[in-house]
């Protein structure tokens, strides 16, 4: 057996498809391991489905590498932060501390949004005031925002901390007070009279980062210095970190979805999930199917009859509608999907394994073994099992892609496990948010490719396995 099997394996190794399949499998396994070690297991609930976590990201941004292919480069997403105090001096009753962030606008594009972020503000007596202004490349200044930190409650003791758990986030694009500031700025600087309401219409980003040009605005390239000033009453008051998010049009390796989620993370997390579903389903299906098939074929009689009838019925049920029905009723938990896929997967294997066992049973070398007095167990293990084992293994490999595809289909219908990001769910969310009709290809093409990639990996391996199952296909010297 062993030598025979090794010959089979070398045959397997000799085929190009199986080598390709194994290489792909290695890639999938490495990515899955990487993901499992670097991502928390509750990634889905803690981060992926938590919109606040993605608040700083641009929405529906293309992948960054798209800039390699276009002449007119898209603006990249930028988050700039600082914790260093640039200047500090007392002024009257206040201690003034400034923080500076320099942003160099190089692209011929406007940022899509600007968000200010303040982490970890500490004060000891009266709440400080924070003010942000920007000095543009043309040396003009715009006061962007000003606010007072929330005062202490009566129960609090100094030092008072603010914005520790969740940073203070100011979406400048949504601030009504800014429209007036910008309207005045345009009048002062360019003698352009635009109603504050219309400024909001044009977009603050264009005014802040641009200059009037013909009938609109064009980007003003150069260094922008964002200065944050803390007006503190106590010398110890300070801001932990000041950040400015310059919303870009491209983001990361795979872009973002409508919630600003980094798609590369979701895609990465899909690997271990797909591998898990594929392997768990195929292994369980194979164990059940092969066992029942061998029992049915070898024991025969009434047991065989019952197993066969059940298989007949199960095999004649259209799978997807029943899968839809069951996952719908029992809810989209990953383990439930696995159980259902296993439940409806095994009968096809039983039928084939049974017929193979019957065939093996009727071949005369089995009869020879019986005639020398070999026990049932010996015959099963030494003679019947080796005949069906390669086939069972091949079937196991073949079940894997169909499980991956079935889970993806269920996910796509909105029946997936919402606590775990999968490729099918990314696609479903994309589809439901019109990604297809609006041409957001980076949202819908990569997850599909991942599904095809992981499925075809196992198809290739299964194809390479064919000569192992069928010794007649082997090339003898």
């Amino acid at each position: 057996m062993s030598k025979y099997f090794i010959e089979g394996l070398s045959e397997f190794w000799a085929s190009k498809t199986s080598k390709m399949g194994l290489a792909f499998l290695l890639i999938i396994i490495i990515i899955s391991m990487y993901t499992l070690f670097t991502f928390p297991l509750d990634y889905g609930t803690r981060y992926w489905n938590n919109p606040k976590y993605w608040a700083d990201n641009p929405k529906i941004a293309m992948p960054e590498w798209i800039n390699l292919f276009v002449g007119n480069k898209f603006l990249e997403h930028n988050i700039l932060s600082t914790s260093t105090i640039q200047k500090m001096y007392p002024s009257g009753a206040y201690y003034i501390k400034t923080y500076e962030i320099v942003y160099d606008l190089m692209a011929d594009q406007f940022p899509t949004f600007i968000t200010l972020k303040f982490d970890n503000v500490t004060f000891f007596s009266r709440p400080p005031t924070i003010e942000v202004l920007v000095i543009r490349p043309d040396n003009s200044t715009i006061n962007l925002y000003k606010f007072v930190v929330e005062p202490p409650l009566s129960t609090e003791e100094p030092p008072y901390s603010r914005y520790v758990v969740e940073p203070k986030r100011i979406m400048l694009s949504g601030e009504p007070q800014l429209s007036l500031v910008l309207s005045n700025f345009l009048l002062d600087k360019y003698n352009l009279s635009i109603d504050p309401k219309d400024v909001a219409e044009i977009g603050y980003e264009k005014v802040i980062f641009g200059e009037p040009y013909e009938n609109g605005f064009k980007p003003l390239k150069g260094k922008y210095v964002f200065t944050t000033t803390l007006y503190a009453r106590d010398v110890r008051d300070q801001i932990g970190t000041v950040s400015i998010v310059i919303g870009g049009q491209v983001y990361g390796l795979m872009g973002t979805d409508i919630l600003g989620r980094d798609l590369s993370q979701g895609l990465l997390f899909g690997f271990p999930v797909a591998l898990l579903i594929g392997i768990v389903v195929s292994v369980l299906t194979t164990i059940i199917g092969a066992t029942l098939g061998i029992v049915s074929g070898y024991v025969g009689g009434r047991v065989d009859e019952i197993i066969q009838r059940v298989c007949d019925v199960m095999n004649n049920i259209p799978q997807l509608p029943i899968l839809i029905f069951l996952t719908f009723i029992f809810g989209g938990k990953l383990w439930i999907i696995v159980v259902i896929l296993v439940l409806f997967g095994w009968p096809s294997l039983v039928i084939v394994v049974r017929s193979m066992v019957l065939q093996a049973k009727s071949s005369s070398f089995i009869e020879a073994a019986i005639s020398v007095g070999a026990s049932r167990w010996r015959i099963m293990i030494r003679h019947v099992f080796p005949q069906v084992a390669p086939y069972i293994l091949a079937q196991m490999i073949f079940f894997t892609p169909s499980a991956i595809l079935a889970e993806a289909a269920l996910s796509f219908l909105g029946l997936g496990d919402p606590s775990i990001p999968t490729w099918g769910q990314i696609l479903e969310y994309g589809f439901r948010n019109g990604a297809v009709f609006l041409g957001y290809w980076w949202w819908v093409v990569p997850p599909g490719l991942m599904i095809v990639f992981s499925a075809i990996t196992f198809v290739f391996i299964a194809l390479g396995f064919e000569p192992v199952i069928n010794p007649r296909l082997r090339r003898w010297r």
Binding site: P318, P321, P401, L413, V436, G448, I451, V452, V459
Partner: protein, 349 residues
């Protein structure tokens, strides 16, 4: 005669399948309390209608409430809601069979009815149209290409087809549909994004049917690309095997032309095994059709499924599961009949 008996046996086993699915679904919805939910919904629907009617006759609100309470009890009794679910099971099965599942909460038929049977019957022809078109194209393709490839095993085209069938096995139909829309509808703009007719639909019958064909193109293309690979490959394998049979070389020895040999001695005897494989791939194909409808907003039962899931409409999902099983069983039976017709060995066995 054997023919009748063979078909009766097939029909019987398919009826068992149908019954099994019915039993399975009713037990599940019974045990999980969903059947209560559905029936309660029906009671409420009825009550609402009756309340409007009664309100015209009974002016006193208290009397009205009392009368309604009584009617409600009657309704609960008539729907069997006072009894446990397993007692109502036969009733429930009958309800599913007749699609008497009350009203959909969210979906309305094109003619405005929200009765489930109306909605489904309206969608059914659209689904059947899509499925049969693809079926015919697939069949023609697998015969044309499969036979062609089978005459040159090992050729470049042959290897291409093998590769294609492997890839199409790993290709989710619905994702392919998304790609198709992106390419042909979004970027190239030569086909519509989805639906069955343009809005507004053309009035002229000829234009209307052309419009339909135009809308049919992408979903059909998607399904064909995703499923024809395995069909062609199976046909090829069977034709190759058949072509090696002794009777084929005898037919050649008889001086028959290659055309007759091909059709009468290769394709004709290969028909039964090809049909068998067709029967086996029917289920996968049905699943593909459901998802394709969803992608292309094809107003058939598959899209309805999606809508029902999105709006958590249990009664509708139940009815659709039954309908799809029914379609599958009927399609199986039609193929079995065809099989018996093409294979004389079954007829006289």
């Amino acid at each position: 005669m054997g023919l009748k008996r063979a078909l009766t046996l097939k029909a019987a086993s398919l009826v068992v399948v149908l019954l099994f699915v019915l039993l399975l679904t009713t037990i599940i919805i019974g045990a999980t309390g969903i059947s209560d939910k559905i029936l309660n919904g029906m009671v409420q629907d009825n009550l609402r209608a009756i309340r409007q009617e009664l309100a015209r006759e009974i002016r006193n609100p208290e009397d009205l409430e009392r009368a309604l309470e009584k009617i409600k009890e009657d309704l609960i009794r008539s729907y069997g809601l006072d009894k446990p679910w397993y007692v109502r099971m036969p009733d429930m099965i009958w309800r599913i069979v007749t699609l008497d599942l009350g009203n959909s909460r969210t979906v309305v038929s094109f003619s405005g009815s929200n009765k489930i049977s109306d909605i489904i019957l309206e969608r059914l022809p659209n689904t059947v149209l899509l499925m049969i078109t693809v079926l015919i194209i697939n069949f023609a393709l697998s015969l044309m290409i499969g036979v062609r490839v089978a005459t040159k095993p090992g050729s470049f085209l042959d290897r291409l087809i093998s590769m294609y069938s492997a890839v199409s096995y790993a290709l989710p139909t619905w994702w392919l549909g998304i790609l198709m829309i992106l390419v042909f509808a979004f970027y190239l703009k030569i086909f519509p994004f989805g639906g069955m007719y343009s809005t507004p639909p053309p009035v002229d019958p000829l234009v209307r049917s052309l419009d339909l064909v135009w809308h049919l193109c992408l979903p059909v293309l998607t399904l064909v690309i995703a499923t024809s690979g395995s069909w062609i490959y199976i046909t090829r394998s069977i034709v190759i095997t058949t072509a090696q049979e002794d009777f084929v070389s005898i037919a050649r020895a008889k001086g028959l032309s290659e055309r007759i040999v091909l059709w009468r001695y290769i394709i004709r005897p290969a028909a039964p095994p090809i049909l068998t494989n067709l029967i086996l791939s029917l289920a996968a194909y049905l699943g593909g059709a459901i998802l394709t409808e969803t992608i292309f907003s094809w107003p058939g039962m598959g899209l309805l499924y999606f809508e029902a899931i999105m709006s958590v409409d249990e009664a509708l999902i139940l009815a659709l599961t039954y309908m799809y099983t029914l379609i599958y069983v009927i399609a199986r039976f039609v193929l079995e009949v065809l099989y018996v017709i093409v294979d004389p060995r079954v007829r006289y066995a």
